[in-house]
Amino acid sequence: MKSKKLSIPYILWMLVFTMIPIVMIGITAFKDTHGRFSLEPFAKAFGYTGVFMKSLWIALLSTLICLVLAYPLAYLLTRMKKSSQNTVQMILMIPMWMNFLLRIYAWVILLQDNGPLDSALSMLGIHASYIGNTTAVVVGMVYEYLPFMVLPIYTVMSKIDGGLIEAAQDLGSNNAAVFRKVIFPLSIPGVISGITMVFVPSASTFLVSQYLGGTDDIMIGDVIDKIFWTDQGTGSAISLVLMIFIFVFLVLMNLFGDEEAIA
């Protein structure tokens, strides 16, 4: 029971399959196509600054929309009877168990030209294209990651001590004041971890924009995927920048929230 030895297999495992691969990315990022030391990959990676910014913008927008949609939902959930809470929570979770690609593909079917949405709105005399633009990408992204925002906020909110709320009510607060002064401040850790859990995957995702976006909606994940098979140096350089950016973001978020809520 006192033995540290039990962790040795895993420490070796991490060394080979976590540390070495990351070091290899670091090394590959400084090699040109002939394998010599070079800063060329970073010079090429710099050419994708626009894509990088657009990815961050799409991720930021998706995270904000998720937050706006999820916060009231989580709050309403905590106000329900315990049994209906469980049922509604299950109903909200079920779509998340569907395969990632199938969920995106479902939106392709729904939004495509002559698809259900297009046909329905055409009958009302509205003709437009709903797929192949940034809005469709953001909608798909919100759909993918909304439960990741609802769950942590709901978990933190439902753990709020009922005594605090009763105390506030006894001291003369109405519902709005209880929300503003008790529930909202105590729900912040959930919001922080929700933001982390939505922003990180949506900033680095690929495929969503390939299926739902137009030609200028390509995201940094798509670039890494496309480039890595032919030019590992530049692919590694972009990956390295992306990883460092995500780590800085996580550290910043950690400064706001407490560590336990993230895990």
């Binding site: 029971m1 040795i8 895993y10 009231p72 939902l73 106000r79 395969n99 759909y143 900033a203 995500i246």
Partner: protein, 266 residues
């Protein structure tokens, strides 16, 4: 918290969110019964379901997904539980370093982990002459599963009373008996939820598999990806409908089981 009934506006809001989450899936299931292979409705038919069961590649990919998920979660559970017990005996800086490295696969973006493992495997493949495939996918899945096991077992370990283990030794257990009957028993809920999380993440994974699968191996996600590239989607609708049905059945069963357990406890 005081439970007051929620108003009609709130109910409409919840209903709208549920519509948002289910509408795309409903449309896809509806389309799986379409006899045509375009988006236009051409009449009811079950032919895509027939095609689905005849498709060797899909059945093969489904099999691969399940085998990888079972093996990866099993192996990750053993490795992770042992690791958690070991790490729990470290103190201070060493412990912090080990835990942070262990969390790396969770916090770093999937795609970065995918390409980094691809670099490693293609490098090792050149030296030892092997190709990426089942083995490399399995190793990669274990990589992102173990941290979840460690994270789930750790809190249980911290709460565990060391004296129970000592008591078992005093009462005549040898070290292995005490370990098995006390420690593992106490950690079981954490071990179980770690294994369950590993299993679901492994089943759902696309990104890591995409980069480590090599030329011939496919799991369900990468097979769907390939099918979407070749633009033969109607069977995918049928596949989605069946997967959705399976998920609903499993979730309802879990819910019934939990309610029974709650009633027993109460």
């Amino acid at each position: 918290m005081r439970k007051n009934k929620i108003g009609i506006v709130s109910k409409i809001y919840i209903a709208l969110m549920i519509v948002f989450l289910y509408a795309p899936i409903a449309v896809m299931i509806f389309m799986s019964f379409n006899s045509g292979n375009t988006t236009v409705w051409k009449g009811f038919s079950l032919k895509w379901y027939g095609e689905l069961f005849k498709s060797k590649v899909i059945m093969n990919a489904l099999g691969n997904t399940l085998i990888i998920a079972v093996l990866a979660s099993l192996f990750a559970t053993i490795l992770g539980t042992a690791a958690a017990i070991g790490i729990n005996n470290f103190r201070g800086k060493k412990r912090a370093i080990i835990q942070n490295v262990s969390n790396l696969p969770i916090i770093s973006p999937d795609i970065v982990m995918g390409v980094s493992l691809m670099l490693l495997f293609s490098f090792l493949g050149m030296i030892f002459h092997f190709e990426m495939g089942f083995g490399t996918v399995l190793i990669s899945h274990i990589c992102f599963c173990v941290p979840f096991v460690v994270l789930n077992v750790m809190p249980r370990l911290r709460r565990m009373d060391q004296s129970i283990y000592d008591a078992a030794l005093d009462l005549g257990c040898n070290q292995w008996q005490a370990f098995y009957k006390v420690v593992i028993h106490e950690l079981m809920p954490g071990i179980f939820s770690g294994m369950l999380m590993s299993f679901t993440y492994s089943i759902d994974d696309f990104v890591i598999t995409h980069f480590t699968q090599g030329a011939r191996f496919n799991n369900l996600s990468t097979e769907i990806y390939a099918m979407l590239r070749r633009k033969i989607p109607p069977t995918i609708n049928a596949l989605s409908a069946l997967l959705f049905l399976a998920i609903i059945i499993i979730m309802v069963l879990i819910n019934i089981y939990e309610r029974r357990a709650e009633k027993k406890a109460a």
